[in-house]
Symmetry: C3
Subunit: 355 residues, 3 copies
Amino acid sequence: MADVKNLSDISWKAFKTLSLAEKGSYFRGRHTLIAQQFTRSEIEELCTLATRIKRINKRRAGANFLKGLLSDKRAMLYFAQPSSRTYLSHNAACQILGLDTMDVRDQKTSSEVKGETPEDTIRTFSSYADMIIMRHPVGGFAERVAWMMAHTKREIPILNAGSGADQHPTQALLDIYTLQRSFEKIGGIDGKHVAFVGDLARGRTVRSLAWLLTLYKDMTLYFIAPDSLQIGQDILDQLDEAGTKYVVTEDFESVMPKADAIYMTRIQDEWDVDGDGSTTEASDYYIGAEHMDIIKDTTVILHPLPRRQEISTEIDNDPRAVYWRQMRNGMWIRAALILKTFGREDEVNRYYDDY
Amino acid sequence: MADVKNLSDISWKAFKTLSLAEKGSYFRGRHTLIAQQFTRSEIEELCTLATRIKRINKRRAGANFLKGLLSDKRAMLYFAQPSSRTYLSHNAACQILGLDTMDVRDQKTSSEVKGETPEDTIRTFSSYADMIIMRHPVGGFAERVAWMMAHTKREIPILNAGSGADQHPTQALLDIYTLQRSFEKIGGIDGKHVAFVGDLARGRTVRSLAWLLTLYKDMTLYFIAPDSLQIGQDILDQLDEAGTKYVVTEDFESVMPKADAIYMTRIQDEWDVDGDGSTTEASDYYIGAEHMDIIKDTTVILHPLPRRQEISTEIDNDPRAVYWRQMRNGMWIRAALILKTFGREDEVNRYYDDY
Amino acid sequence: MADVKNLSDISWKAFKTLSLAEKGSYFRGRHTLIAQQFTRSEIEELCTLATRIKRINKRRAGANFLKGLLSDKRAMLYFAQPSSRTYLSHNAACQILGLDTMDVRDQKTSSEVKGETPEDTIRTFSSYADMIIMRHPVGGFAERVAWMMAHTKREIPILNAGSGADQHPTQALLDIYTLQRSFEKIGGIDGKHVAFVGDLARGRTVRSLAWLLTLYKDMTLYFIAPDSLQIGQDILDQLDEAGTKYVVTEDFESVMPKADAIYMTRIQDEWDVDGDGSTTEASDYYIGAEHMDIIKDTTVILHPLPRRQEISTEIDNDPRAVYWRQMRNGMWIRAALILKTFGREDEVNRYYDDY
């Protein structure tokens, strides 16, 4: 059983100085804020639960059963940073479980106009809901909210749907879930070679997923990017500490035949605050029909989407192109996570056994 | 039984060259994209179903029964072109059937900002839903989407809620449904005289409805508009081909006493791309209290709404003014259409028989 | 039993000249438009109902029972004036009762662009719903809508969620409900001293609440504000007429020890149409940790929120700071009001008795 601590027992000042792993112990089992809070056994439990939910949902009676699981709860979807994809995925996950949703998707809420602090705004939203699913441009804001909620009489779970440049924990979970499903019949994730390609400097999904992969045995990670977009040293340090093997390179083609999973990414010029576009030309990494004979039959190609030119639409119907399935997996793993947050996963497990 | 073909069996290039009637055979029973895909017997079945849904919904137990019909499904409402009216009508239709809805109503989705193709955006939306109800400014885009979905492993139905300047098939259905209800006790639609008045050049509703009326016997259509706003020759050619009688005129008053239905329209200056407003002054056609003695007691006045000056609010409570009922009819016929798309219309029919 | 009249029996011209009390008799039991329409017994019934709903909602079975109460109805949330807080509170109230909601939250709807009148827009929205919950910047517009609906064949209830500078009746109800809950064990609202502090000239909540308090016995009201922001003479005249005692003063500290309830407000510069901010500096009334020893142990501090500087966050966890509970109370009293509007309150009362 992993370490679980209580956010109401620590001051914000002390909390801020903690390591990610230490912070994780304060979030675990209640809030979902950082990829580093998950243990391998938790992830495996979530993956199993997601697959069960997905299967139960295939039949009408099953889908109606699922809709009764959280029909007494309401979730607030607060997206201060727009993202149709992430919004819809979480909304669908809630709907699968019968959880009513309300949303605030404007960048400027009327309250901010009225001079309210962001903390008061969130506390307001929390008053009407049993859970907050939030996306916010300010790094660490979701953590601050969780800490604040723990110091009120009405703490409710916070689910981080992307904050700042760093954390997007449910994206990392859906990536792991997709790898787990893809490798189910070939020994699971342990021992696999995973290549990350493109803009590794700024994408939070790569950073989170790389970290989660340290929970698996005998992994080899490849970071394939031009120098200016290469993965951060902090991530490499984490891999070193965890004893996870990795290769940093610019040469995509040499890695292709070895990789069990190829994780493509796009240039994140949303984060290019200088706006000079200086790095945009750098990533001409690409995978298309001409590479389908080079990669293995069991290799899977992932992408957090949206894509630009880095994956040809020609390969969309190749069974190894799993990025569309990956996106749908996000809905299932989020449903699993939300259900577990409310502690009702056993109802699915019982139904599944009788199924 | 009408011709039904499979979209996955044809290339986009070949599909694009087909006539509207031929395209219809590829959509029928799965997607709702063009008015021309409907047969008379399908329309009649939908009208009967709509009336049954409407009646069942009057009682609380009936309304709760209806909400269980599609409670295991989710619809995506994608309105790239804003329209509160059409959005709300479809949303209400979904809610009547218990279908959960998600919506994207922004003109610019965040993904487009991130450089995603419209096809990928739609495929993303489709990942989280069992049906897409879409309104898009680009003519033919909904057809393209349906074709694309048929070439994936997860084809879901597309319902066109208005695309480009041409197609708005559910508006045509609700117009027909309103005529059917209005003429129920006076022999049905066959043999009636229907006058279209106002801006006939640019309104897609008139074009679609005129076509659907070719499915009925012994009709006489009147197209009453100034020259610059008169109905397109392509529609007249279709009427000729179908053997449907019509009169093209500028003289509204002479038609009034003969018409069984008067279909008023407003100037569509949204489509006035030149923006010179040159045609705006042309349509001073108008119906008001002073005409109530000229038209027949059984004549009905329709309007797709919103209206401007062309119908006086003074006649709103005249029983022959059916435009408000017409709007509400849209909700019922859309509920019927959505239910039939999922093949569950028999459940309503059984319930209705026991009612 | 209070006076109940029918809106369809009066012309708009005649209706407009009525006093607030007279108008109330036309709204009572059907629409919720002005604070002045409520009788004390109605308010007490709503408070009891709200508390029962809140308690039933605590258990899963109870919450699921509540969701069946209005599952056959749909509400339209039309917010022409943005307000996340009020929108969310009403939306949550609907969801508690299983009432499906649709919303129009844009300031400019597409129909207005198309030249539609506001009356037609609202009638359109009403076509798809069983109730309209509306917020509108134009004073009296909600009343006009209720009158208009009464003159159609499909009248549906209108709930005013804020109109113009004057009326916000459900805010007044939630304030009363909070006072009733706070004073439940100390003899109820009768005989209490209530202090209003800050911007009393422009805040509609203070005006509505002051009026409602005339329904209670032996009240003393304090209006604490700088001259330029002091309460309107019209309100003082109403208090005089009702025989309610009041004190108008600039001296907050002298009132603090006497007040049973302190109602703080913020500067309403949204209404500062001159935009010269001339009055902004005037309100430096403030309550914080240093006042916690001055006020009584049983005194409660309210605020309609959002707040700025007028309440220190330091006192948020003091049990006498009830503004966060007050906000959540809004959800419960609105649920009670909506349920009663549809005449189904007895189902809650029966369930509660068996509970």
